[in-house]
Symmetry: C2
């Protein structure tokens, strides 16, 4: 199945909005084995839209049109498609009912322009929008599908996931591909590939696909079955093997995040947590509390940016700071251990490092970070050497700390 994407909107052309819809669609259609062959952005203009529809590649099966719907755009896409397919608008009662419910739920008055959103082309199939007022439209002409979707990302995504993909999968008799993704932290992509080469070979021999999806600090591993969900159990076995081989790296699956996973394991063991942060300066606490309900286990933190506060707030010994330096194993250990007492928590993570760009020395270069971890009285510190980018170093410290915490607690 070959797909083209046509986005409509002056705001995209002048760069006020980034066309994230195109990349999301590219990802989703790749997952079902379709190929996006071109992506075009044109102005909110009837002639430009018609011209784009006239010049799509001959082998294109589906053209996805995003944007140009709704009152502020004068519903230009809807009117253009009516002309293009020689049809006219009529009020579509189920869509009108949906819009009325939408406004009633929000206790907002409904205007004539809102009612007009229920006026839809007679010659198309309606794709219901469960997240907004502009319905999706599916036209068919000479075996080719023309799909018009709203430009608001979550509305567009809802219609694609819930309505469009099931329809296309059925009509193009696409094999239902099945994907499952494991999430890893702490091992770079090439080292990871090296360590699991035989595992990867067996996956490929079995006829599954394997994709490495790196993002800053993380590598996702996605296994794809081209036969569908019936291979799920077998894929899970591969992931179980991966997890038992690299338990320190594999922290979760699919949409898990490190704050989620650490929060779950803290809750499971009924442990409270706090942090004593220097180089991360609050980002670790902020990540731990980024999920609702974190107050069940997160109590608070000491951000001891200055050496004076490391001593005054957290009782780090002046001797440790003077003889070993603020960025040292000893200070990281004291921060975690004494921090746990000061905060009255079961678990305390400490961070101290040279985030950069300045402050590096031959002994303690930019990117050097010590993380301390104290769990119910037992405290350990680990050394990390990251790169030369300040923001990245801080982020890597947070990810490494959360993943280490997760791993240690899972071993209990």
């Amino acid at each position: 199945m070959n797909i083209e994407i046509l986005a409509i909107g002056d705001e995209l052309l002048i760069g006020q909005t980034i066309n994230t819809n195109a990349s999301w669609l590219g990802q989703e259609f790749s997952k079902i084995g379709a190929r996006v062959t071109r992506s075009v952005v044109v102005a909110d203009d009837k002639d430009r839209i018609s011209e784009a529809l006239d010049t799509i590649y001959p082998e294109t099966n589906v053209i996805i049109i995003t944007g140009g719907l709704g009152p502020t755009k004068d519903d230009i896409t809807k009117h253009t498609l009516c002309t293009y397919f020689g049809t006219h608008l009529e009020i579509h009662p189920p869509t009108l009912a949906k819009i009325e419910t939408y406004f009633a739920a929000r206790k907002r008055p409904m205007l004539e322009t809102n009612i007009q959103q229920a006026a839809l082309p007679v010659a198309c199939e309606i794709l219901p929008n469960n997240y907004g007022t502009a319905a999706g439209m599916l036209f068919e002409k000479n075996g080719r599908y023309y799909v018009s979707l709203p430009g608001v990302p979550y509305e567009m995504q809802g219609i694609v996931t819930e309505e469009l993909i099931p329809i296309l999968t059925k009509r193009f008799q696409l094999k239902a591909m099945y994907h499952y993704t494991a999430l890893t932290q702490g091992i770079g992509e090439s080292f990871l590939a090296e360590r699991i080469r035989d595992w990867e070979d067996r996956i490929r021999e079995r006829g599954f696909g394997l994709a490495y999806l790196p993002s800053p600090g993380l590598v996702k591993l996605r296994i794809t079955s081209f036969e569908g969900k019936e291979d799920q159990a077998e894929i899970m076995q591969f992931f179980q093997e991966l997890t038992s081989r690299l338990p320190e790296a594999v922290f979760g699956y699919e949409s898990d995040t490190l704050p989620d996973v650490s929060g779950r394991v803290l809750k499971k063991h009924q442990l409270t947590i706090g942090t004593v942060e220097s180089c991360t300066s609050g980002l670790l606490a902020q990540q731990l509390t980024s999920i609702s309900g974190a107050s069940d286990y997160f109590m608070g933190s000491l951000l001891t940016y200055s050496n004076d506060l490391k001593h005054r707030l957290c009782d780090v010994s002046i001797d440790a700071i003077l003889s070993d330096g603020a960025v040292s194993e000893r200070v990281a250990l004291e921060m975690a251990e004494k921090g746990a007492k000061k905060l009255g928590v079961d678990v305390c993570i400490s961070t101290t490092g040279v985030a950069g760009p300045s402050g590096g020395t031959a002994d303690k270069p930019v990117g050097l970070v010590w993380i301390g971890l104290s769990i119910t009285g037992k405290t350990v510190a680990r050394k990390f050497q990251f790169g030369d980018n300040r923001e990245r170093n801080i982020q890597m410290t947070v990810l490494s700390a959360l993943n280490w915490l997760r791993y240690e607690l899972e071993q209990r």
Copy 2:
């Protein structure tokens, strides 16, 4: 001047990379008064690229091609353009010298593929790349310009800013537009427009352009002169008037950020700062330390997420918590005032609020936030009512706190 953008790359089509180049180019060309009329992405394929070049709009003056350069792409754009313009490649000595310098500086060995990056079409004008190895190329045919640029954003941006825009401004005799932007926080776009209507009217009467550029929590105001930099003084006068009318909202100009501006004003008054955070849970400290050199004024923080720690770490009175609640003026005041003492800092900001999504009551709905500000012993608290999105509420709290700090210190 009408511009089209053609981006080349499978990674854009499958959504692995978001086409931020197109939005950056849209913004930059809007600034010089050019109009981007279409933006297209095609695959790394000779026929697709040629076809795209054959079908551009008749009125297009300049087509910008990004990507498809470099060894991993087989320099497909370069070869396609050679065929398209009936020319051939030859080593371009100045470019070769640049590449040699580039590798020498990084102490990395130069491969044959790197040398081949200096092989450039004879029939084009070379646009030097000061940030990488793939040079830009400018072809002219029938008065239309075809520009090929690398896909790496900072390399592409460097060539556009330093080489291409000056050339286009000259050849198309574009009026050198002049822009200057003021940054505001704390007043929504429509309220802002209401309050400065007469100011806006006078700007427009004078023949200048005014754009409202909203982003989460901030509104930027950009004045444009279509005559060029000679109008700078007059534009500055408009901005001075704006600042004196809304000193609490206008926090800076151009690329200023709130952490920058607050840091500068703290340094100027030689004041140290710390924070006592509840609902922002470290994000305020993290923002304050996001700029290098923050250790000159930022000392540390208490993140008192639990009520117990508000009392134990920061001496907030149990009576205040019990009678007024953790989210209250009294607790915000005590957090800021007692926090300043505990941390030994001149300035202390406190935050306590209901970030949501849970925890709201009729009296204290989700989005209610109290911010306390203690400056050299004098402490005030202010109430804010934000919305129902947790992440947004936390971000708005941080922006509001930094801007309030900036305003108070500027008054001194």
